[in-house]
Every structure is written in structure tokens, then in C-alpha cells.
Amino acid sequence: MPYVLLIIINAVFVNNFVLSRFLGICPFLGVSKKTETALGMGIAVIFVMGVASVITYAIDLALVAGGMEYLRTIVFILVIAALIQLVEIFVKRFSPSLYSALGVYLPLITTNCAVLGVAIMNVTELTEVNVLYAFVNGVASGIGFTIAILILAGIRERMETADIPASFKGFPITLLAASVIAMSFAAFSALSF
């Protein structure tokens, strides 16, 4: 049980996916204009990361048993792409309200490197690994992503009315805001153990 707690604190704060590992920067910068869309994206990412962690972990067992670790990248990305399609169909069929909330974000997640990143990290970087830890790591990493994107979205909403020099408008000022957030998250590195 303590190891689960360790994984969660590590994934959400100490090694935050976006602010410290630099995974999933594209949606972090691209979908953070409004708090609602950022939240939608965040929830979709948590969901897909949790499911993808479990499935890729199971597939990796088969790959390792067959001595084919070198196929990891290809197999994982295909599984994730297929999984996202399946999730989309499934959610559309059984929960139209969830579908209308997540719909647009699901296809975008295919090229979110955070999902492939967490799948590979689960099988290469966790010191103790089983299905539960993989799942917890996936969900916690998704939560870390959501927290980061929500903070940035909040800042960007405020900045809309601010007087920003013309050449800094758009991406540059967003990157500088992200830099300040990353600086504050760097303080969590004192928690690393």
C-alpha cells in the first residue's frame, strides 16, 4: 500500500508529467485556452491513460515472454490507436452525455505522447510492477496532467485582458507562464525519495 501512495505523489507532484518530464506538451499548449476545454481534455487523458496502462502492461507480458521487446514501440502505438477508437465507439454507445463532453478530445489523444510515455514507463521504469501499480501510475499521471493544464488555462484566461507586448502574444507568453508554473512545481523535488 505505501508504494501505491509513493507512485501517486511521484506522478502527480514530484515528476509531474507535463512540468517535469515534458510529456504531453502539445495538448498542454494547444487545448489550454479555456478552463472547460482543459478540464474535458484532462478527464479524457486520465481515462485513456488508465485503460491503456492496464492493456499495454498485459501485452508487454506477452512480448517479454516471446522475447520480442524490440517491437514495443510499434505494438504499443497501434494498441493505443485502436484502443482510442474502441473507447470512442464504446462511450458513444453507452454514455452519449460523456461522449459529447469528451468526443472531440479522444482522437487528439492518439498523438499525445503522454499516453505512450506512461505505457513505456510502466514497463521500464517502475521498480516494482504489477497490474495495479501500472493502473495507478497511469491514472495518477493523468491527474498530474490535468492539474497542470487547469492551472495554465486559468492563467491564460486572466491574460486575455492583460496588456501583452505584441511579439509575446500567443505561444511565447504561454511558454513563459508555463515556466513560472514549472518553477513552483520544482519545489516538489524536495519530496523525492
Binding site: 510529456l23 499548449l29 524490440y70 514501440t73 490507436a81 521500464t124 505561444f171 515556466s179
Partner: protein, 261 residues
């Protein structure tokens, strides 16, 4: 092939480096950009690895563009890209084991680099093989250039070293600021470099447009046109003044941008 055709053929190459620079203009592939640029050499190797995958996948996708059904094109592109990024991973593991360790996770993540899918979708799937390869080369060079530049700045400010060789006077004076090799510094340097790069490209474009406007004004003025054309013919020893026009413009542009950057 005369010079005008050559200039048009090479357009994807120059555009990829400046006007369509993946890092600063299109803002694609930001994850590896921020993650590996703690040192110039890491940025350079990451850029070259990505360029290799980009050129190869662009070539293959462009060859197959008439055979891949529209509906399953994205999985098909991803498969081609994944095959080449696995190849790069294997080559690096064998010949550059240290760099393989340093780049680590991000070498596998070349496959989800949005630059690759974006170029496959918006260029390689619509154009013949040669322009697609040139486009891959141009975008890849631009990406490599940007990554190396960011890595150079972060390494110098953060550790007082250039390509791994530490510069003693800077280190002894205690000038290196560790924050620049931390994530926060990555975002900061990227943001400021984007401002500088965009301003430089804009200035170059403005200078170019001013030239063009001046040329048009000259053309409208009947007395001057003869002089201009005469000097151009003399300069380029090319009878076709139209082609020399566009060539000169091209050279001016690259020269201006090179100087500005």
C-alpha cells in the same frame, strides 16, 4: 533545369528551415524540444534522428499515397513512422549506446512526434516523392537547427559548457545558473527564442516585401525599367529577366534570414 525551376524545386527545403520552422513557427514536436535540449549535443542527435525518420517516412508515404485508402490513412502513417523510429532506436542502441541512454524514453517517442504525422498528412500524402523528401529534409534541418540552438543556449547558461566542453572562466566565476537546465528554464528559453526567431523572420519578410514593392514601383515607372532590366541581365548573364528576378529574390531572402538569425 534552369535556375527558376531549381529555385521552385528547392522551395520546400528553404521553407522548412525558416518560414515553416517546426519548433518556432508551427509549434510542433514540443515535447522532445523541451526535454532533450539540456545540452547542445543531445539536441543535435535528437534532431538528426527525427530528420532521418521524417525523410524516410515522407518518402514511403508519398510512394504509397495512391494505395492507402483515405479511411485508414492515419493508422497506416503511424505504422510506417513506427517502423522507422524502431530502426533508429536499434541503430542508436548499437552504435551510440551513451546517446541512447541519454535520450531514453524520447527516442521511442519519436513515433508520436506530431511533426511526422503533420508532414505526412499535409505534404507527403499530396506530393510526389522528390518534393516530399526535400520537405522532410527541410523540416528536419529546421528542427535540428532549433534543437541545437536551444540546447546550446541552455547548456551555456545552465552549466557554462559548449558541446560538453566546459569553459573554465565562466564556471570559475560562478556564472552558470542551474535553472536553465531545469524544466522551468526550458520553457523560458523556448518562449524567448520564439519571440526572437519570429521577429527575425518577420523583419526579413518585411525587407523582402519592401524590395518587391520598390521593384514594382520601378516597373510602373517607364524610364527606370530599362535600367533595372539592363543591370539584371548584366548581373546574371541570363536573358530571361523574369527568372533572374525570382532567383535574386530567393537569394536575398535566405541571405537576409541567415544574417538576421
Amino acid at each position: 533545369m534552369n535556375r527558376k525551376q531549381l529555385a521552385t524545386a528547392l522551395e520546400p527545403l528553404t521553407q522548412g528551415v525558416f518560414k515553416n520552422n517546426a519548433t518556432f513557427r508551427l509549434v510542433l514536436g514540443t515535447c522532445p524540444t523541451l526535454a532533450v535540449t539540456t545540452a547542445a549535443l543531445n539536441g543535435l542527435s535528437m534532431g538528426l534522428a527525427t530528420m532521418f525518420v521524417l525523410v524516410c517516412s515522407n518518402a514511403i508515404i508519398s510512394m504509397l499515397r495512391n494505395f492507402i485508402p483515405r479511411k485508414v490513412r492515419i493508422p497506416a502513417y503511424i505504422l510506417v513512422i513506427a517502423a522507422f523510429s524502431t530502426l533508429v532506436q536499434m541503430i542508436m542502441r548499437k552504435f551510440l549506446p551513451d546517446m541512447y541512454e541519454t535520450l531514453g524514453l524520447f527516442l521511442s517517442l519519436v513515433v508520436v512526434n506530431c511533426i511526422l504525422l503533420a508532414r505526412a498528412e499535409s505534404f507527403a500524402s499530396l506530393n510526389p516523392v522528390l518534393p516530399s523528401v526535400l520537405d522532410g529534409l527541410g523540416i528536419g534541418l529546421g528542427f535540428t537547427f532549433s534543437l541545437t540552438l536551444l540546447g546550446f543556449i541552455r547548456e551555456l547558461l545552465g552549466t557554462g559548457a559548449v558541446f560538453g566542453y566546459s569553459i573554465e572562466p565562466i564556471v570559475e566565476a560562478g556564472l552558470p545558473m542551474t535553472i536553465f537546465v531545469l524544466p522551468a528554464g526550458g520553457f523560458m528559453v523556448y518562449g524567448f527564442m520564439m519571440v526572437i526567431f519570429n521577429a527575425a523572420v518577420k523583419a526579413a519578410e518585411n525587407a523582402l516585401n519592401a524590395r518587391k514593392a520598390a521593384r514594382n514601383a520601378d516597373a510602373a515607372d517607364g524610364t527606370k525599367i530599362d535600367e533595372v532590366e539592363k543591370s539584371e541581365v548584366a548581373d546574371t548573364e541570363n536573358a530571361d529577366s523574369g527568372s533572374s528576378n525570382s532567383d535574386e529574390r530567393h537569394e536575398e531572402r535566405s541571405a537576409a534570414e541567415g544574417g538576421a538569425v
